[in-house]
């Protein structure tokens, strides 16, 4: 392992037209670490992920992945190394493609042979039985779809996974299964995660450190232990934490 952090973001700014959605954001994620970003809607947390993934090119500042500064147009090597899982399992799979098509596509793009073995491996790793291989998305449940989306991200054997609210559209029992799967995969493959979520308990469960964002700024960076001890320093983080505990009368 090099001493470079897996992800280094420095003074990131993102604007759409006259809307400044991310302001002077800096953070770094060590290799093998799981890093959470929490915030309410409009905090810019998902935008950060899309910029990191190369889906959004309206940014300034600097982004380095494993020591390499990233241009706005990413190359193929970048895409092999950094993959993403989206929030909505109903929208992130092509409705007219079978599981097999979906998993074969990244292999075809990168000209990787041995598709049979790779697809089989990816499916078994995410716990999808082989009988699901030729199903269409409409023949899968939400949790199964999200497993396909994770398998699609893994099939290129990346070292960094960007997770955009991967379980917020799922039932709690399915959420538990998917979170367990993500934890196990990280351990097995020594993956680096950035997990964006609005759910503090999920972030505390999955991540070692987290960043609280509000109105496009990083408000506070803290460890999961600090969060569990309910000891954030800023008022906003404190407020989020209180709100997440549920309703209080009086």
């Amino acid at each position: 392992m090099s001493t470079n952090p897996a992800i280094l973001v420095d003074k990131l700014n993102v604007s759409f037209a006259d809307n400044h959605v991310v302001r002077d954001l800096s953070f770094s994620v060590a290799s093998g670490e799981s890093y959470g970003i929490v915030g309410e809607s409009g905090s810019g947390k998902s935008t950060v992920l899309r910029v990191l993934a190369g889906l959004n090119r309206d940014w300034s500042g600097s982004i380095a992945i494993e020591g390499q500064a990233q241009p706005k147009h990413r190359d193929k090597a970048f895409h092999r190394n950094v993959q993403m899982v989206f929030q909505d399992p109903y929208g992130s799979l092509h409705p007219k493609k079978t599981v097999d098509d979906t998993l074969a596509e990244p292999l075809a793009i990168h000209g990787l042979g041995d598709a049979e073995r790779r697809i089989g491996r990816a499916m078994s790793e995410v716990g999808l039985p082989t009988s699901f291989r030729f199903r269409f998305p409409h023949q899968l449940s939400g949790g199964q779809r999200q497993r396909v989306a994770i398998a699609r991200a893994l099939v290129l054997e990346p070292s960094i996974l960007l997770l955009d609210e991967p379980t917020s559209a799922l039932d709690v029992s399915i959420q538990a299964e998917v979170l367990n799967l993500l934890s196990a995969l990280r351990k097995e493959r020594r993956l680096t995660y950035i997990l964006v979520s609005h759910d503090l308990a999920v972030v505390a469960h999955m991540c070692e450190r987290l960043l609280v964002m509000q109105f496009g700024r990083g408000v506070e960076e803290m460890s999961a232990a600090t969060l569990a001890a309910r000891d954030p320093k800023t008022a906003y983080a404190q407020q989020l934490l209180t709100a997440s505990e549920g309703f209080k009368r009086g």
Partner: protein
């Protein structure tokens, strides 16, 4: 549900299974499911029957037609419908029934040629404009607007006038005027599709723009275009008939329905059958394609 290991028998079960064993079975199963849904729609089934009938009649025209469609018999002019001449004869003594039967071939050729040329052109222009955006979009869509600005028949007339009358030129003219709506539809769909997460996911895999458009956007636009072209066939048939009526489409003695109506217009009050039967044929076929298109829309566009 995944632990049913008992061997399934019968096509139905093989097609409807939730665990297809191959790509082919999955695709066939998908189509079969759509067919099951389609079958429940009586109007669509009538449309399908009419279109199938059209295909059969065209294929077996020589067997069905009792007379030669272009053989003239001047002593048999303008006879009313009878046992020998089911639909009567026209002013040159030709059997109208046989001409209507052979006319299905002309109609089918026009429809197929137009659809084969128009569908892909509209699809590619629309998807490229929608996905690539920017100046590509602006240029392609302004060209589309120019074509859309003229009424279809008038534009087709202008093309035929420039190219000269004839069946091939009529097809080219209709094709030229028919693609813009297809491009519009494809572009509108693409604008929605390109923001979908599954497109973002392929972009993230490093796919080239052409690959994304061709392999991921186009398949999503296909159903609505198939539906649109089926619905459009009625219009194409009517435009072809219109050109034929004006003498700018198929040239005599080719038995084209529009031209046949045109030929019968002088006798419409005295020998009604000359213009009526080809007219009914046009109506029925146009209706058939419309019903079929409606049925397909219900099945394929259901999201």
């Amino acid at each position: 549900m995944s632990d049913t290991t008992t061997a399934r028998t019968g096509w139905h079960d093989w097609l409807i299974t939730n665990e297809p064993a191959s790509r082919r079975q999955a695709r066939l199963g998908q189509t079969y499911r759509q067919w099951l849904a389609f079958r429940r729609n009586p109007a669509a089934m009538i449309g399908l029957a009419i279109v199938l009938l059209l295909l059969l009649v065209a294929a077996f025209a020589p067997l069905i037609a009792p007379h030669d469609p272009i053989a003239q018999a001047l002593d048999q002019r303008l006879l009313p419908p009878s046992a020998t001449y089911w639909f009567g004869t026209d002013s040159l003594g030709r059997d109208i029934f046989s001409r209507v039967v052979y006319g299905t071939r002309v109609t089918l050729v026009i429809v197929l040629l137009v659809v084969v040329t128009v569908g892909p052109i509209g699809l590619l222009i629309g998807c490229a404009a929608g996905y690539l955006g920017g100046w590509v979009d602006v240029v392609l869509m302004r060209i589309t607007d120019v074509f859309l600005a003229f009424p279809r028949l008038v534009l087709a007339l202008a093309f035929v006038a420039a190219l000269g009358p004839g069946l091939e030129n009529a097809v080219i003219a209709i094709a030229f005027t028919a693609w813009p709506p297809y491009a519009r539809v494809a572009r509108a769909e693409t604008l929605v599709i390109r923001n979908a997460d599954y497109i973002a996911a392929v972009r993230l895999q490093g796919a080239s723009q052409w690959r994304i458009v061709w392999k991921h956007v186009v398949p999503m636009c296909m159903p609505s275009l198939i539906v649109r072209s089926t619905l459009d066939m009625a219009g194409i048939i009517l435009t072809a008939a219109g050109l034929g009526f004006l003498g700018l489409g198929a040239q005599p003695p080719i038995p084209e329905w529009g031209a046949m109506i045109s030929a019968g217009r002088e006798q419409i009050f005295d020998q009604w059958w000359v213009a009526t039967f080809p007219g009914i044929a046009i109506c029925v076929v146009a209706l058939g394609f419309n019903l079929l298109g409606d049925g397909l829309r219900d099945v394929m566009d259901a999201r």
